[in-house]
């Protein structure tokens, strides 16, 4: 037997488990003896006590129990053993947000795997030469922004593969595999799990895991004015439909003189900055457009969202022309003047 410091699960103290409504438990189960020990959960920064890890493997589980209804959730688990491969897994994204990794459905991310203890040689069983990497995907249930992680990784994986190389392996994924009727609107989680290949003696095989939140590409609509319209009277009030805005984003209704949105300077008419934990949808009203565009001419309205992925249109821009009629009083004055002139 050897002693190891159980630092592996301390990093799993997620915001969810730190919330006052949740109580965290770290449970260790030695596979050969069946001994179960609840490790004291220490505040961040303090060193946890040493644990005994035997050759048959010791399972570390990180649980969170909710105060409401005593509902327990397995947030993470790892199997560590003197004769088992060691594994670490980290998901990297372009978004620096913490404490969880998050990305957008169309954006690249990496899975960095660090393995040790794998053997090489002809005729050796898979259990000592390889581990299995599993990719599990799960959409958020309708109207929700979370999925029970244990439920996700207990199912059949979306994809699985052997990895037989000690050291660091980095897999570069160009986009999430989540899908929907329109895949750009898909959201959910992707979990990556490294399993030991069991020779039949292990009751659990999970060595390491990591996950990433996936959010959809925002979209939008400009309602109240149609493309290529010519307006002779007041510019109408508008309704802006903002759908699935990225958790950290700044969204604008911009107006550009002319028909282009690139290469010309635009003016923001309405803004909607957002910095939250989940994506959100909103509807905004624009009621003062007429006063902000006093000059006749051709304009283009665009719904634009700034994220760390760039500046993007949420929908097709709307181009319209303003050709105001003279006001009734000025028309009368003009006619009166013309009468006098001609008679």
């Amino acid at each position: 037997m050897k002693r190891l410091m159980p630092l592996l699960l301390i990093g799993a103290l997620t915001a969810a488990a730190r919330a006052e409504s949740q109580v965290p438990f770290i449970r260790q189960q030695q596979q050969t003896t069946g001994v179960v020990w609840d490790m004291p959960v220490v505040p961040a920064g303090e060193e946890p006590p040493a644990l005994l890890v035997d050759g048959g493997g010791t399972l570390f589980q990180f649980w969170s129990i909710g105060q409401d209804g005593a509902k327990d959730r397995l947030l993470d688990q790892k199997l560590i053993g003197a004769y088992l491969p060691t594994a670490g897994l980290k998901v990297g994204t372009l978004d620096p947000y913490k404490p969880v990794a998050r990305t957008r459905i169309d954006q690249p991310f990496t899975v960095e795997i660090n393995l040790g203890g794998l053997l090489t040689g002809d005729g050796l069983p898979k259990s000592v030469t390889s581990v299995v990497l599993e990719r599990h995907i799960a959409p958020f249930p309708h109207g929700e922004t979370a999925v029970d992680p244990a439920a996700v990784i207990s199912g059949i994986p979306y994809r699985s593969a052997y990895i037989s190389t000690n050291g660091k392996t980095v897999l570069k994924f160009p986009a999430s595999a989540l899908t929907a009727a329109d895949p750009t609107t898909a959201s959910g989680v992707e979990h990556f799990v490294i399993h030991a290949v069991s020779d039949g003696s292990l009751t659990q095989t999970q060595l390491a895991s990591g996950f990433v939140q996936v959010w959809p590409i925002a979209s939008g609509a400009i309602k109240g004015i149609s493309n290529h319209a010519t307006l002779h009277d007041q510019i109408p009030d508008l309704e802006l439909v903002l759908t699935d805005l990225y958790p950290r984003s700044d969204t604008y209704l911009m107006v550009f003189e002319g028909t282009q949105v690139n290469g010309v300077e635009g003016t923001p008419l309405k803004s909607f900055p957002m910095n939250r934990e989940t994506c959100e949808s909103h509807v905004l009203e624009v009621t003062d457009l007429d006063s902000q565009l006093p000059e006749d001419g051709t304009y283009t309205l665009a719904l634009i969202s700034d994220t760390l992925y760039g500046r993007e249109l949420l929908c097709d821009p709307v181009t319209f022309s303003v050709e105001r009629r003279p006001a009734a009083s000025s028309m009368q004055a003009s006619l009166s003047h013309e009468d006098h002139f001609y008679h």
Partner: protein
Amino acid sequence: MKTAIFLWFLAGHALASQPVLVRVNALTLTNLQARDPMINLVNPLAGESKVVRPAKQSIISTSTILHDGAQWTLVPKDAVVFLPPAMKSKVNARPVGSLMPWAEFLTKNQAWITTSDVTFDQAAGNEEIPAARAKAWAQQDKIVVAVHHGGPISVRLAESSPTLTKR
């Protein structure tokens, strides 16, 4: 007011300096998704890789519940090594009230819970718990929970520990 106008000007200026990209469409995304790097790795054949996934586990169902009527906590099954008959109502009832971490619950309920330190070998049943200690448990009216480094631990009784009263 001047500051607001200045910031608005800066925002407008910044907005003018970046290209505006068209929203990614479904076809482009589908093409990106097809470039999955795991396709190029060796994939297990059906039923070849024997992995055990953590399905349908519950820490509550594999624990002993202790409660004082207002709060409750849980310890591993077989961590309660002595249970006086008068204390049976405080064990394994339906959890009601607020959940407390073990250490806090113990501090609050020292009047009827005590602990006994055991080694890992004693917990595994490889080493006997001294009979004198087990006798001492029975001479008090408190629930005794086995602990290791301050955390509750299940105890598998060694063959020759007849004096222990199992729950």
